[in-house]
């Protein structure tokens, strides 16, 4: 066990210093690099053609909205599926364990693009053949493209995170669960109060990285006609014959999104100093 003297604060993680220590941030090489980046940005604004931007702004906003919906919904729903997938592999009876292992292996072993096309071109045309489905309440949704994009992204996220949660559940020290048991907690309470929060906390650094990866997977929905941010930019390039400006704009937006996500998730991690 770490014997940390309480008088000295916790040894700060390097990532934490980067965020919190403002004095450490302004080092000469950092200032130089920031100046170069600012100069590049200024040059881009001054010498490149941004006249298309105001006209496309409403469509860019709605594209950004679609990207965010795809990200948030697939991460949220996918994580809900990842929990049982991970738990089944750690503590489930063997049929469930093998089923979830099989699911994770198949999904993780095939390209997301392929899965998305199978859902959209495969399921989409299959559904259309059944009058029961075409007359059901779900048809107005099922005849659009975005549900298939969302399903593919969700399935993929669930499979990857199922694997992450499997490791996280297995990694919670047995003694902490035993203490819960020894104090009379039921299985459900042990899960809610100890096992799940501990696993989640251990998985957070990995999850943060996976959410960023998921953000960068969302442009694949553009291949099945969903107009996310990437699709809007493609439209811009086709109609303005500009190449670099729209793409650089896209780079900036994705960078901002992943930067904001990183900061938010790291803040969550740092709320609890953990020794194990």
């Amino acid at each position: 066990m770490p014997d940390i003297d309480i008088a000295t604060p916790l040894a700060p993680a390097s990532a934490k210093t980067m965020l919190h220590g403002l004095r450490g941030f302004f080092l000469p090489h950092r200032i130089a690099m920031a100046l170069i980046a600012l100069a590049a940005l200024a040059a881009m604004i001054a010498y490149m053609d941004w006249s298309w931007l105001p006209a496309y702004l409403p469509r860019l906003w709605s594209g950004l909205g679609m990207t965010m919906i795809m990200l948030v919904a697939s991460v949220g729903i996918g994580f809900l599926f990842a929990l049982p997938l991970g738990l089944a592999q750690v503590a489930g009876p063997w049929p469930l364990r093998w089923m979830s292992l099989g699911f994770c292996t198949v999904v993780r072993g095939t390209p997301l693009l392929l899965q998305m096309w199978l859902f959209y071109f495969g399921l989409g045309s299959l559904f259309a053949q059944f009058p029961e489905i075409r007359e059901s309440w779900a048809w107005p949704y099922l005849r659009q493209a975005w549900p298939y994009g969302l399903i593919a992204l969700t399935v993929s996220f669930a499979a990857y995170e199922g694997e992450v949660m499997r490791g996280a559940f297995a990694g919670v020290p047995a003694g902490e669960l035993e203490a819960a048991r020894a104090f009379g907690m039921s299985r459900g309470k042990t899960f809610r109060r100890v096992w799940f929060p501990r696993a989640l906390h251990r998985a957070l650094p990995t999850l943060a990285g996976e959410i960023i990866l998921q953000l960068k997977s969302t442009p694949l929905v553009a291949t099945i006609t969903v107009t996310d941010l990437y699709a809007v930019i493609t439209r811009v390039r086709q109609s303005t014959f500009l190449t670099y400006e729209p793409l650089l704009f896209l780079v900036a937006v994705y960078l901002c999104l992943s930067g904001a996500l990183t900061i938010f998730l790291r803040w969550m991690e740092n709320r609890i100093p953990s020794g194990g």
């Binding site: 066990m1 902490e176 104090f183 009379g184």
Partner: protein, 268 residues
């Protein structure tokens, strides 16, 4: 406690005992760790369990709150016997999970490796069981937790995280976690074995103060001098059997079994 003894089966011997263990056997696969152990702790008793490694001390302790299910035998707490049933393979299993959980909540256990919950503060660790298992109100649990943390000398560490504490402080917090449930009996599983030598004293002095309050406890320990000092009754386990037991003066002063003589001379 009124809720105990409801199911007492009229065994007069058991009624006085806080903990009564009868003919306990435990087998892991082909290895028999406990070969018929019987033990009684009356209220106020401090029973020290000593013995070499692999003698079955910890297993016996873990059977008392059913962290290990015995292969055969009978265990009752405050006169209430655990409801165990025999499986097809001839082992015992828990028949009434809720009964076991209810009894466990009143048997605090202190572990060798502390086992605090690292995602809760010291205060959170101590209020966890009262609030979420025993149904005590948050205010009452907080007040009680502050009092017991004060007792173990951690009154200024309420909002610290376990990872920020030394081993000795963590173990004292773990003892406070047990005190907060107002236990019928406390089970100590080698509470100082994982500590740096200079931190052992602070934990032992907390345990000593609890023993002096006549709290019922069963203490598995390697600290012979401490056991001699604090215990009202000492049990020497050897190869899964109680080889000798008695008051500490007798066990340490005039051991009759050659094994115990050898054990005592090897550890002191």
């Amino acid at each position: 406690m009124a809720e105990f003894g409801d199911c007492a089966d009229g065994d007069q011997m058991d009624d006085q005992a806080a903990i009564h263990v009868e003919d306990l056997h435990k087998r892991f696969g082909s290895m028999e760790v406990l070969k018929g152990v019987s033990l009684t702790a009356r209220p106020g008793d401090v029973v020290a369990v000593i013995g070499g490694s692999g003698s079955g001390k910890s297993t016996m302790l873990r059977c008392i709150n059913l962290l290990e299910t015995p292969t055969s035998g009978r265990i009752s707490i405050q006169g209430e016997a655990y409801d165990l049933r025999t499986t097809r393979s001839g082992d015992l299993e828990i028949a009434d999970r809720q009964q076991v959980q209810r009894i466990r909540a009143h048997l605090g256990m202190v572990f060798q490796s502390f086992n605090l919950w690292p995602h809760r503060t010291v205060l959170g660790n101590v209020t966890e069981v009262p609030v979420h298992v025993l149904g005590v109100s948050r205010e009452e649990a907080d007040a009680r937790a502050k009092a017991v943390l004060e007792r173990v000398g951690l009154g200024d560490k309420l909002d610290a995280w376990p990872a920020q504490l030394s081993g000795g402080q963590q173990q004292r917090a773990a003892i406070a976690r047990v005190l907060a449930v107002e236990p019928l009996a406390m089970l100590f599983d080698e509470p100082t074995s994982a500590l740096d030598p200079e931190l052992v004293g602070e934990v032992l002095s907390v345990i000593r103060a609890l023993a002096e309050e006549k709290r019922t406890m069963i203490l598995v320990t390697h600290e012979m001098a401490f056991a001699r000092d604090v215990a009202t009754h000492v049990v020497y386990l050897k190869d899964g059997r109680i080889e000798e037991q008695g008051p500490p003066e007798q066990i340490f002063g005039a051991p009759s079994s050659p094994h115990l003589q050898q054990f005592i001379s090897s550890v002191t």
